[in-house]
Amino acid sequence: MTLLPVLRSEWLKIRSLRPLLAALAGVFVATAGITVLVHAMVGKAEAGGPDFEPVGGSYYGLNFGHLAAVCFGVLAVAGEYTDNKAVRLSLMAVPRRGLFYAAKMLVVGAAALPVGLATGFGCFLGAQALLGEYGVGLGADGALRSAVGCGLYLTLLTLFSAGVAAVVRSQVGALCLLTPVVFLVSPVVGSIGAVRDVAAWLPDRAGQQILHPHPDGPLGAWSGMAVMALWTVLAVAAGWWTLHRRDA
């Protein structure tokens, strides 16, 4: 049994479920949509102020849109573990669990990357267009890096969530674990001065450094992305360990 047929099977599993496609579309629509909406309403009014920074502000919608990436990663994996235990049939067809898991993660990542990149460039270009004379081009300092970085951030967040779902083996459980971290713990802890430097090492905080031309805090653009990649590797590895050890 080789990788290619298993990849095709896993790809069909994503294509054939509407909630997964909706979550994937939601990443782009929510992130770019909210960014464009906010820039259309308040964009120029705040432009030119002392704290104005056109590049990082382009990704405002990510605060909401990245939850769709979490959902996509969770649903893609935990769908195997609903009451129906579809994973049993999956493992009957592909009993080499490493092959099954690798194919699933590759396909989930490969689906998230183009959507993430489209989201990154969509956000940036949309926001700059609405900023008019205050807008900058992709040639500006850190601009191209931020758009590509947004795509990498969303891809890693998806895979991180997929790995967590493989450990928890439940949609509800994985979402209950991830949503507060991404929506509450990280923003709240990140705004408290005393622990801000610790929060900077959380996966989403670390990965978002790349959105800014001049990141502040203990992590830089690429070192932050590397920290997030490490979190992702740990989550995916823990998911593999769980699948490998436990009865299906």
Binding site: P5, V6, S16, L17, N84, R88, L89, M92, A93
Partner: protein, 245 residues
């Protein structure tokens, strides 16, 4: 021809021994009825054979190899374990296609099996809209995808309509006559008496009987009587792993 060889199989879930040193061979060319009270270990046996559960000790081989090492397992073994083992939001045809793709089984084969199992008109409906009987038919189609020489069916008659039961009866007969290995578990004694050539009976994870149907029932009025005479001391319905009452 492919047999299933189970040697010294023990499976513990915590303190519970679901299987206790089980040794039995399921031979090809006949329908083997797999009987035993709830919690006797029938499903666990099938799950270990399929590599889903790891045995505590002992081995289960299909054609001399562990299931997980088969290069294209669906072409060796087909199994219906749990009728609802399909994502509820996926269509029946897509569900079968996800399995078929892993083995490069053509879509035409999927469509033919949907036809044969009477699901052709429901092929593009989502599985969540299916009745239990339709799910059983879908599970049967999945089991037959790879035209396997070994077929494991765990309570396949659950929820089937009379027509479906007759179809299943004819199917298992034909598969065995073609020289395949057919293991079918059921609590319906009348159905097993009609379809099985051979019986394997478990009680509390141990082998109680491994005999041809006629020899098993020889000194009793019916299969049901013979079954109760053998298993009553082992019918512990409080046992964990107990399935539907």
């Amino acid at each position: 021809m492919t047999s299933i060889d189970i040697r010294g199989l023990t499976k513990r879930y915590g303190p519970v021994r679901a299987l206790d040193d089980l040794t039995v061979t399921i031979e090809p060319g006949r329908v083997t009825g797999f009987l035993g009270p709830n919690g006797a270990g029938k499903t666990t046996t099938m799950r270990v054979v399929l590599g889903l559960d790891r045995p505590t000790s002992g081995t289960a081989l299909v054609g001399g190899r562990p299931y997980a090492t088969l290069p294209d397992p669906l072409r060796h073994v087909g199994a219906l374990l749990d009728a609802s083992a399909a994502h509820p939001a996926r269509t029946a045809r897509d569900h079968l296609l996800t399995l078929a793709l892993t083995h490069r089984i053509p879509a035409a084969r999927v469509d033919r099996l949907l036809e044969e199992t009477g699901l052709a008109s429901a092929a593009r409906r989502r599985v969540r809209t299916f009745s239990l009987g339709m799910r059983q038919r879908l599970g049967l189609a999945a089991a037959l995808l790879g035209d396997p020489p070994v077929v494991l069916l765990d309570e396949p008659t659950n929820g089937l309509d009379p027509e479906g039961i007759v179809h299943l009866r004819n199917l298992t007969r034909r598969l065995a006559d073609e020289g395949r290995t057919v293991l079918i578990s059921s609590h319906l004694m009348g159905e097993i008496a009609r379809v099985a050539d051979h019986l394997v009976v478990l009680g509390q994870g141990r082998l109680l009987a491994d005999a041809p149907l006629d020899r098993f029932t020889a000194s009793h009025a019916s299969l049901e009587d013979a079954y109760f005479a053998l298993t009553t001391p082992f019918a512990d319905h409080a046992a964990p792993e107990g399935r539907r009452p």
